[in-house]
């Protein structure tokens, strides 16, 4: 199992390949990716459009299956799971944050946060809910519907939702892609706190150098391969340099 210097990987991919289509029209989205994500780290996956970064995240999260290779989350090999088991794994071990928030419009903020637990039929931990609400700073807006919240507020609800079930890993797909710079800052700070204060593991796919700069580690994908894997924090400028180098 590939590991990095800081402890064991909670999520690990080994020789993952993913081919879309068949024959002449076949596209290699991932071409042999092996990578591990240790706990309590914030990793940013970057890369130009079509580099395969979204595909990698889908496969890591068990939303898509690799053509070959294996993925493990918290020691469980995903390839051996059927749809129902994958569903359960996503419910219990994975949190998601999307670019377009994807909150249910008919539920208010608090209900959206509790939705995954409701789906699992579990009773929410009231104490954790209180902590999370404090952390995301939405105490006064809990009874509001998504339509009554700003984009930044919606994304903070989505992050609280991902944190609520204490997942093994949180995947964030362009979490700042649809936000202004001020809201982006808030969201990134929140993800950072998730790692530092709540001990979560966060993997984000992003175009945004500022977002990548908030991470502990930056992976760069080009043409379905990992071309850079830089540990340590970067400034936005350093991230931009990194991107230029690989381009």
């Amino acid at each position: 199992m590939p590991t990095t210097s800081n402890g064991t990987a909670i999520v690990a991919a080994d020789a993952v390949r993913r081919v879309f289509g068949e024959g002449e029209a076949a596209v290699k989205a991932l071409d042999g990716v092996s990578v591990g994500f240790p706990t309590e780290r914030f990793t940013a996956i970057m890369g130009p459009s079509g580099s395969g970064k979204s595909t990698l995240m889908h496969i890591l999260a068990g939303l898509d299956r690799p053509t070959s290779g294996t993925v493990k989350i918290d020691g469980v090999e995903l390839g051996s799971l059927d749809d129902a088991e994958l569903t359960e794994l996503r419910r219990d071990k994975v949190g998601f944050v999307f670019q377009f928030f994807n909150l249910l419009p008919v539920l208010n903020a608090e209900e959206n946060i509790l939705l995954p637990l409701k789906l699992a039929g579990r009773d929410p931990d009231r104490e954790r809910l209180r902590q999370l609400i404090d952390a995301v700073g939405l105490g006064d807006r809990l009874a509001h519907r998504p339509a009554e919240l700003s984009g930044g507020q919606q994304q903070r609800v989505a992050i609280a939702r991902a944190l609520m079930s204490e997942p093994a890993v949180i995947f964030a797909d362009e979490p700042t892609g649809n936000l202004d710079s001020h809201s982006s800052e808030e969201v990134l700070a929140l993800l950072r706190r998730a790692v530092d204060e709540f001990g979560q593991t966060v993997v984000t796919v992003t175009h945004d150098a500022v977002a990548a700069a908030a991470a502990d580690r930056v992976l760069v994908l080009v043409d379905g391969r990992i071309v850079r894997d830089d540990d340590g924090t970067h400034s936005p400028d350093e991230v931009l340099d990194l991107m230029k180098q690989v381009a």
Binding site: D64, T87, R90, D92, L104, V106, K118, L119, A120
Partner: protein, 850 residues
């Protein structure tokens, strides 16, 4: 998950309401039907029970064949002596209860028109047998007095002491109003009217001197009604039968029950059609909303919702809609029942309905059907929702990837259409039993089949009806056409709902036109006389004396009495119809299409001779020279020898024609169905008619018509019936229009951004409205054209076996064109709401819409 489903419904109140409305209307019809028929049933039971209070046993004439005209023959009054001598009889009284009289109203016309009958009852028995409550006056004491029911007195403004004229079999008679009565709490006998006379006068007026219609019997102390009835049955001749009072209520109840059941079945069929149409609407609405919520389902799946949870959530939505709609439908049905009754009353079918009977069955069936259909229709869309892969939730503007099922779909369409046609044909030719059910099931299967195939028809048909629009209306016309074909499955399902209603309407129109043509032809070919005397209602019998009265008029060559009767022929299943003619005069007014024999055979028919229908002969293996035995209403058996055969294309004559020498054996004596009149050469038709009217003035329910008038009055009756059928089918058309509204509204919601773009580049509001309106018209026309074609095909298929019997298929082109025009209008109406909504979209918001 449950609360999400319910909140989704609440958030989309308008759509939920529109979807539910389809089920509400169907369930309303179902529960309305049950409430109405249960109420009628209960009202009749009240009436019969009330009438038989104080009666332990009833003696009536034996019905040797189960005739369907409701007229029970009278019997010899001497039976009363036998009754009185029977063990256990305390009191017995004979009476008249004749439904073939008429009270002449204030306007000189018979009260009640062609609706419920007027009964002549006789007074004078012991009080305990008299079910009437006299609200004014007393029972008649002399032959020139009468009592009428309160409803008639009220409607005609008759007061005590007024002269009231009653028409009976022996003519009209004027009486003095001596009393006004009700039956228990009921003002009238459920639509029927009542004239109470002295026994002697009732017998005279109804031509039943020396006869009774029934004898009411009371038991002495210590004899139960059962023993009394058994005693009577044992001692009385077999021309009469004895029942306990309670049994008699049941017998009468069974007679009306048959009619109520027919009514119930007919109404439930219309309800079924409306619900069938609603199924399409629900399927379509759920399909569209599931497609539009693809991202939501994907997100829920990503967050860990299982397929079962997604399925449960969509099914729960359907369940909630179904339950709510059923509840509303049942309540509305209770209110709707009087509306159905009013519809029938408008065509002179007056049914008693006092109080409102809501049986538990009404509520249970309403909920089961309403909810069941909603959930079933939503099941396929719900299963589709579970197949949304989680990964699409991460993509913007994700749309549901529909797996390529085209081949499966068209195969299923072809198979269903084929099976449907096969089912219809097998049902039609009696291979599958019961035929009516299989025709219905076959038709439903065929509708489903055609619906599955119709996406292939949408593009060419949209081009067909859309091209002219495009040429006339430019860009809006073109966009409307493109929009209609963008999702052919959706357009097809929407149009299919309308197709069903219109197919049935055009089927009925074509079939009725054929029926009318056939009747006209039969009248032209068979009735070669000049005038026809008949009852005003067209089917009841008239007094036989009318023939004698007419025969004496100058200018009339023959006045030939004709009687249509029922019998049971030995070795032939079921009752059959026959004609009794006067052999001496029949050939001058009737022409038969002879196969074997000639007019001379008809003119020479002896009492035991018959000429028979060719088809009936073939079915039963009868040939000229053979004999058959007919069992008549009076219980007499007559053996006939076949003297000839004829082809009777429209079943005008029935199974056979025989001499009226035996008329009295076939039921009530002294009545005929028609008198066919032939004029002398050169007679002045108008003058003769005047003379006939004068001679028959004392028979106000009798009318004289020539062939054209007879055809017109039959056509009028047919049209009335058609009106009722159209009114009931209208309900399902309404449901399908809601379907168009719903689909349009959902499509517009889907195309918000696109509409914003159109407005941004300079499309005017009225142009946007037009685009939506034309799309609705195209959808409606697809349904209309498909429905019209299917309806005509159905009519031709169904009337195919009748064609050999002379059924003429004629296609009422005018009616069909009117239907298409109405379809266009319906499309425009359905588009009003959605078009307005589309044109009012805020351009900027629409463009930003995600």
């Amino acid at each position: 998950m449950g609360s999400i489903a319910l909140r989704n419904l609440w958030e989309r109140k308008l759509r939920t309401a529109l979807t539910a409305l389809a089920i509400v209307l169907g369930v309303m019809m179902v529960s309305g039907t049950y409430v109405l028929t249960d109420t009628i049933d209960a009202s009749f039971e009240d009436i019969f029970t009330e009438s038989n209070e104080g009666v332990d046993a009833v003696v009536t004439a034996t019905e040797f064949i189960d005739s369907d005209d409701g007229v029970v023959p009278a019997f010899d009054a001497a039976v009363l002596g036998d009754v009185k001598r029977t063990d256990g009889v305390a009191q017995a009284a004979g009476g008249i209860a004749d439904p073939q009289v008429a009270i002449i109203g204030a306007d000189g016309e018979p009260v009640g028109g062609n609706g419920a009958p007027t009964f002549a009852f006789s007074a004078g028995g012991p009080d305990r047998f008299d079910p009437l409550t006299y609200v004014e006056g007393n029972p008649p004491e002399s032959d020139d007095e009468l009592v009428i029911d309160k409803a008639t007195a009220d409607s005609q403004g008759f007061e005590l002491g007024d002269p009231v004229t009653v028409a009976g079999k022996t003519g009209t008679q004027e009486y003095t109003l001596g009393g006004i009565a009700t039956l228990g709490e009921v003002d009238s006998f459920g639509g029927a009217t009542l004239a109470l006379l002295t026994l002697a006068e009732a017998q005279r007026l109804t031509g039943k001197e020396g006869q009774f219609d029934q004898i009411s019997v009371a038991a002495d102390a210590g004899t139960t009604p059962e023993i009394l009835a058994a005693n009577l049955q044992a001692t009385l001749p077999n021309t009469v039968r004895a029942e306990t009072g309670a049994e008699n209520v049941e017998t009468q109840q069974d007679d009306v029950g048959e009619f109520i059941n027919i009514l119930k079945t007919a109404l439930l069929i219309f309800a079924g059609v409306a619900l069938f149409v609603a199924t399409f609407l629900i399927f379509n609405t759920f399909s569209i909303t599931v497609a539009q919520r693809t991202r939501e389902f994907a997100m829920l799946r990503t967050l860990g919702a299982s397929r079962r949870q997604i399925l449960g959530s969509v099914v729960l939505e359907a369940l909630a809609i179904g339950l709510a709609a059923s509840a509303i439908g049942i309540l509305l049905g209770i209110a709707f029942a009087p509306a159905i009754q009013a519809l029938f009353k408008a065509v002179e079918i007056d049914l008693p309905a006092t109080g409102t009977v809501v049986a538990p069955r009404t509520i249970i069936v309403g909920f089961v059907i309403g909810t069941g259909i909603t959930v079933l229709a939503a099941l396929i869309p719900a299963l589709r929702a579970t197949r949304v892969p989680p990964v699409t939730g991460l993509r913007e503007g994700a749309v549901m990837t529909t797996p390529r099922q085209a081949r499966v779909r068209s195969a299923a369409g072809v198979v269903l259409t084929g099976l449907g046609v096969a089912g219809m044909l097998l049902g039609l030719f009696g291979v599958l039993d019961p035929g009516e059910l299989w025709i219905g099931v076959g038709a439903a299967a065929m509708f489903f089949g055609v619906t599955l195939l119709s996406p292939y028809l949408v593009t060419p048909m949209a081009a067909l009806v859309g091209k002219p629009l495009e040429r006339l209306r430019g860009v809006p016309g073109r966009l409307a056409r493109e929009n209609a074909t963008r999702n052919p499955g959706r357009t097809a399902a929407t149009a299919a709902a309308l197709m069903i209603g219109l197919a049935l309407v055009s089927f009925v129109a074509v079939f009725a036109a054929g029926l009318r043509g056939s009747i006209d032809e039969a009248i032209d070919k068979t009735l070669v006389g000049d005038l026809i005397v008949s009852h005003e209602d067209g089917f009841s019998d008239i007094p036989a004396v009318t023939a004698d009265a007419a025969g004496r008029i100058d200018g009339i060559e023959v006045a030939s009495p004709y009687r249509y009767a029922q019998n049971k022929v030995e070795g032939v299943s079921g009752n059959g119809y026959l004609s009794l003619v006067d052999p001496r005069t029949a050939t001058s007014v009737l022409t038969l299409d002879w196969r074997e024999g000639s007019d001379a055979v008809l003119a020479g028919l002896g009492p035991d001779d018959a000429v028979i229908d060719e088809g009936w002969a073939a079915d039963n293996g009868f040939a000229v020279g053979d004999q058959f035995t007919a069992e008549t209403a009076s219980g007499r058996k007559i053996t006939y020898t076949v003297r000839g055969t004829f082809k009777d294309a429209t079943d005008f004559i029935g199974d056979y024609a025989a001499s009226d020498a035996n008329a009295s054996a076939y039921g009530e004596p002294d009545t005929v169905t028609n008198v066919f009149i032939g004029l002398e050469e050169g007679a002045d038709s108008a003058a003769v008619r005047g003379d006939i009217d004068e001679a028959l003035a004392s028979f106000p329910t009798v009318q004289t018509q020539n062939q054209e008038e007879l055809k017109d009055s039959i056509a009028e009756e047919l049209n009335t019936l058609l009106g009722v059928v159209y009114a009931l089918l209208f309900l399902s058309v309404i449901v399908s229009l809601f379907g168009i509204v719903n689909t349009l509204a959902l499509s517009i919601h889907e195309r918000t951004r696109e509409l914003g773009l159109l407005r941004a580049v300079g499309t005017s509001r009225s142009q946007v409205r037009r685009i939506v309106r034309y799309e609705a018209v195209i959808t409606a026309l697809i349904g209309g054209v498909l429905g019209g074609v299917l309806g005509v095909v159905f009519a031709i298929v169904v009337s195919r076996p009748l064609a050999d019997e002379g059924f003429i298929i004629s296609i009422p082109v005018g009616t069909l064109v009117v239907l298409l025009v109405l379809t266009v209008v319906a499309g425009i109406l359905a588009a009003i709401g959605p078009a307005r909504r589309a044109s009012r979209l805020d351009v900027l918001e629409a463009l930003a819409y995600e």
